[in-house]
Symmetry: C2
Subunit: 374 residues, 2 copies
């Protein structure tokens, strides 16, 4: 028997009651019953997104909603600022170019975070920039960007610029205030802190974003934001089982209470980070997100991950040039304190087997201490 | 208690064992375990599609794969022939125009089917037509187009033209021979005869289609056929639970045997059609598909559907201008003989309550006779 523990930053574990609920008989998407669930789910999403803006749900991975924001906002030849400090930041530039617009790139080293003054400078230098695309947390490096400050600065100094944030590993894990921080389009996916299987992407759309979309022209059909906003049950057959699961997941999050959810994620993140430091390891992210922790490895991280897998815990490697250099432990969504203890335990066992000089037992001890003191 | 029977042409009922299987713990999409399932599922898809061509699976509704075929094959200014005899045929024209190409439309009345000579004439008149887009069965009218003859004619007379078929309510229900009939891109969705919840679209891609895609240029990112063909686990996080379900569904179909599956659908379709005729009703489709039966109603079909729903059976109305005129009874996927008897029973009860002069009991009797004689 292999009992496995999934601690990857998406897909993440799905609560057992949600899984079983999704196994109930299929409801047709054009019934009042489903339309009511769909409408209620969007209302619940607004609470979790902390927004009054309308919500769109696509049947796609999170990249689908990223694409929708780019293709719907930008016309051919438009200019957009893309902020990249990792693989998902770079995806914004690829998307902008794929849709015939040009990307002004603000690039940082992997592990670093965006600085408000750099964004300000880039926008002040080019008044033709129509939108800013960036991540809340960069899943490839575990960094959380200061989107609060950046959003407020954009609102104050560049009120016509549309601010688009990929919150795929933030929404439902980290306290991101969509409206208060002036985020015109906030994006997430089902398979992260929303505790569902992959297959849905979500976005909130401000009135300002809607006006810009109305005046833009590009090539799209399936990912049509305004069409979806005007549809009461989805323009095409929606992924009905996943939406029913999403409805339950939002209720679970709101039952726990958003503040409690964020505090739980903060606690788990803090314990993971402190445990890593207690082992003499370095955190890879200069401004770590509470949804996942990237830890630099003194040996080939692929070996660490492989040994942790033998033990039963599945964590992620770095992507691209970070492969072999870091491990990424996720704690977003359906996670509790025991998950952190067992993950750090696995990390310590792997490091010991690889002959790394780390104070054996100190990682787990540190995490336990934090949970005692809480 | 309301026990409901779903007889709509998508979503369709999902076998209970597949539903429960999809409730098992989430598998990460970058594991060997998932990649093996993904690769095997594509191989199984080839058998069901009756093709040697490679398969692409997107997390999206069926429209996503339709869009992919248009945006990947056509460059701006290209010309395509779209064949439309219903709502889904018209979607092809919308898609072609949305991606900057022009659609030469071959239009038929709703209920009618495409004629080989019309397609031939349209292609002979304009040698710049790069691709033909049409349905196998038009879900909005229940028509099955002669794609076998059309495919063979295109191959013989217009070997450079790419032939794209939306087989969303055909694959897994009707004997469509993708390769033998020269279908370069064959498309389907998960929520039809493949007996799954909505959320996946599939397509087979011929070598010829790949060459045309390589030489085309348009705006797309998520729906990138060549990128998916080169990815062993999907370019973005795939809908892992649905793909595991798809794997089981294909095995179920192949265990029954493709020929038996097609014969079962033919039998159920035949019984439904003959029952309608025995009631003095008219079939709406001039060339009916074996996946669903559209029946013209002598009274407002919305009233018939509402009464059938009270009885427990959920069938579909016409779409657009056909609303109130027809009912559509689906028998594609997880359906057996009892489903037809209960659906016709519901239809008869509804007609009786509405005072329609139809020989009460003769519909069910006719269907039963057909099952006795079988």
């Amino acid at each position: 028997m292999t009992k496995r523990y999934l601690m990857t930053p998406g897909p993440t574990p799905v609560p057992e009651d949600i899984m079983l609920n999704m196994a109930h008989p299929i409801v047709h998407h054009r019934t009042k019953e489903f339309k009511d669930i769909f409408a209620e789910t969007k209302k619940l999403a607004q609470q979790v997104f902390q927004t009054k803006n309308e919500i769109v749900i696509f049947s796609s991975s999170g990249t689908g909603a990223m694409e929708a924001s780019v293709s719907n906002l930008l016309s051919e030849g438009d200019k957009a600022l893309t902020v990249a400090a990792g693989k998902f930041g770079e995806r914004w530039s690829q998307l902008v170019r794929a849709f015939g617009a040009s990307a002004v790139e603000l690039k940082y080293d992997y592990g670093d975070y965006a600085k408000i003054e750099d964004v300000d400078k880039a926008l002040s230098k080019d008044s033709s920039i129509k939108a800013v695309f960036m991540q809340a947390s960069e899943t490839s490096t575990g960094v959380f960007h200061p989107i609060d400050e950046i959003g407020k600065m954009i609102k104050e100094k560049y009120p016509d610029v549309v601010f688009v944030v990929d919150g795929i590993t933030a929404i439902g894990a980290i306290d991101v205030k969509t409206d208060e921080w002036n985020i015109d389009i906030m994006i997430t996916g089902s398979q992260k802190a929303l505790m569902l299987p992959p297959g849905l992407s979500l976005m909130s759309v401000s009135e300002k974003a809607k006006r810009v979309i109305e005046n833009s022209k590009n090539r799209y059909y399936y990912f049509d934001i305004l069409k979806e906003l005007n549809s009461d049950g989805g323009s095409y057959t929606p992924a009905v089982t996943l939406i029913e699961g999403l409805n339950l997941a939002f209720k679970k999050i709101l039952d726990e209470g958003l503040d409690n959810v964020f505090r739980r994620h903060e606690l788990l993140a803090n314990a993971t980070r402190e445990a890593a430091l207690a082992l003499g390891l370095e955190l890879f992210a200069k401004r770590p997100a509470n949804s996942l922790t990237a830890i630099a490895m003194p040996v080939d991280s692929s070996k660490v991950i492989s040994l942790m897998k033998d033990y039963g815990v599945h964590v992620s490697n770095g992507q691209g040039s970070l492969k072999g250099k870091i491990i990424r432990i996720a704690h977003l969504g359906y996670f509790g304190k025991p998950d952190i203890i067992m993950a750090i335990g696995g990390l310590e066992i792997a490091l010991k087997k690889l002959g790394v000089d780390a104070p054996f037992g100190e990682g787990v001890k540190k995490a336990m201490e934090i949970f005692v003191e809480e």
